[in-house]
Each structure stands twice: as C-alpha cells, then as structure tokens.
Symmetry: C2
Subunit: 162 residues, 2 copies
C-alpha cells in the first residue's frame, strides 16, 4: 500500500447512549458499546474484564465535512484563546473524523460493553476497542496549552440534576 493511499474501515459496533449536547458534562454518563454480533463472538472480548479502562476509536459521524477548516481558528470560537490549527485541537472538525477516547469499563455482558464517561453520542460508529495499558500513557512531564485547561474545566462534570 502506498503511504498516501486511502483505505476502508468498517465499524465493529456502535454506541448506545446519550443524545444531545456534545460539549461537556460527561461525568458519570453511562453508555453501551454494542459489538456487531454478525462479525464477532464473545471470544473477541475474552479477558477484557481485567482492565478498568478502554480506549475507543470512533467516527465523528455527525460532523459536517463542509465545516472542516484548513486554516486556524479559536477553540470554540472564543477570541480569548489563541487561533490553532486542525491538528492542535481535538474537536470533530478534523481530517478523517476519527475520535479517540478513554472510558471506564463497568461490565462486559456478552457483546455489550457497559462503560462510563465515554464522550461519544448515541449511534456513534466504533472502529476499535482496546484495553488501556498504563505503560502506554504519556511518559515524562506533561504540559498542555493554557486554553485547554480553561476549556475543559467542566467537561467531565456531571449534568445538572444527575
């Protein structure tokens, strides 16, 4: 395969979960990753319960390709934050529309994975499910842009009334 050749990916399952606002308040949100029973058996998740967290690769399926901005932009349109490029933010307007999120694994029920704080809305196509390996987190001192810290203050807060 040439380095810049496109290829096809096929969802292995989808998210059954929250509808509505996608910009935060994911704290304690429960959802289910339903693995495609036509293609996989419970063998595919054997041993998964030994892990507290999963890493999920998914498709930002609600993104509008017309919103992809090749230039710079203020995160969330906030002029107080610096203009950054498409590879310097994590929102859904990005090449290939791939999301990567960590979530807590609550229960493995057949091919249904019950998870907490997965920030992907109902109907999201899931492309891969990986156990989280502690060794594979960022190594050494971690530093992030100040706007990130300001922006994410309540991302995993609980929704009102929850």
């Amino acid at each position: 395969m040439a380095q810049n050749e496109s290829f096809e990916v096929t969802p292995v399952g989808f998210v059954e979960g929250r509808t509505g606002s996608t910009n935060g308040e994911w704290g304690r949100t429960r959802s289910v990753i339903r693995i495609d029973g036509d293609r996989f058996t419970t063998d595919s998740v054997a041993g998964l319960e030994e892990f507290s967290h999963l890493e999920i690769v998914f498709r930002f399926h609600l993104a509008d390709p017309a919103d992809l901005n090749p230039g710079v932009q203020h995160p969330r349109g906030n002029p107080d934050w610096p203009e950054v490029g498409v590879f310097s933010h994590r929102n859904w307007n990005r090449p290939n529309w791939l999301g990567v999120s960590r979530c807590r694994l609550i229960d493995v029920d057949g091919l249904d994975l019950h998870v907490e704080e997965l920030d992907a809305v109902d109907g999201t196509p899931v492309l891969d499910i990986k156990p989280w390996f502690t060794d594979f987190g960022p190594r050494g001192e971690v530093r992030q842009a100040a706007w990130t810290t300001e922006m994410l203050g309540d991302y995993f807060a609980s929704p009102p009334g929850a």
Copy 2:
C-alpha cells in the same frame, strides 16, 4: 450513514523512523511525522508546540490480514499468559488495523513533527494527529491485567547501545 457502513480514511502523513523489530525497546527512539504538504499548510499545526505530547492514530500497514484471529490467543504466544480476545490486546492483528499511541513532541519544523517514543515503524501511514489533553486520560483508579504489566516491562527500554 448507517451504523455499520464502511468508509474511507486517507493518511494525513507518514512516519519516517525506525525499521526493524516492533516489539519493544522504543525508549528514546526519535522519528518524524511528515504531514502531507499537498493537503496541509503549516496552519494545520499552529499552536501545537504548546503541548508536550501527541496522540497519533495510524495504520498497522505491515500487518497481514490473514493473521487476524477471530478467536482467543495467548499474548505473544506465551502459554503462561491467559488467552484473550481481539479486543483485549493491542497488537496489530486487529479489525481495521488501527493503532493509537502517545509520543513526546520534540520540535515542530514546518510540517515535520519530531517526536520521541512513537512506537510506529518507518513508512507507517498516519491518520490523525491530536494534542494530548491531560483531562482526557483515564479517570479514577486504573487497573490492568497482570500479563500486560509483565509483557511491557521493557517496551520503552532503550535499545542496546543507545
């Protein structure tokens, strides 16, 4: 798009780096992510230098689809470790052949991202580049299978003579 519909992804760049063994000794390995200059300008990485780490989504392009095992298997064929499913390990024999790794960002030089400890070999097609947000790491107590801890002891060790 239907939930189980396939779609195309296109590399945004590729890795220029280490060839050879892929099972460990990634410590202090340097490589370069070369972003496709035909499709992107330096706008795409504006502000990226504010982050110490990146999260890279890539294609396991050397994997042989014939090696995809729908059943259970011992990690690295080691009978001392339990048999696990395709979603319970992180090796390259997996549906969609998508890898996700964290690496340290050393320098942004135009569209070349110089990175450290990216465990992807030379020629790897890169599908996405995201800044690492500390808030997006696993939350709460983290637990992993014992075989994982045993297996990864020297994964980020330095190669002999390095």
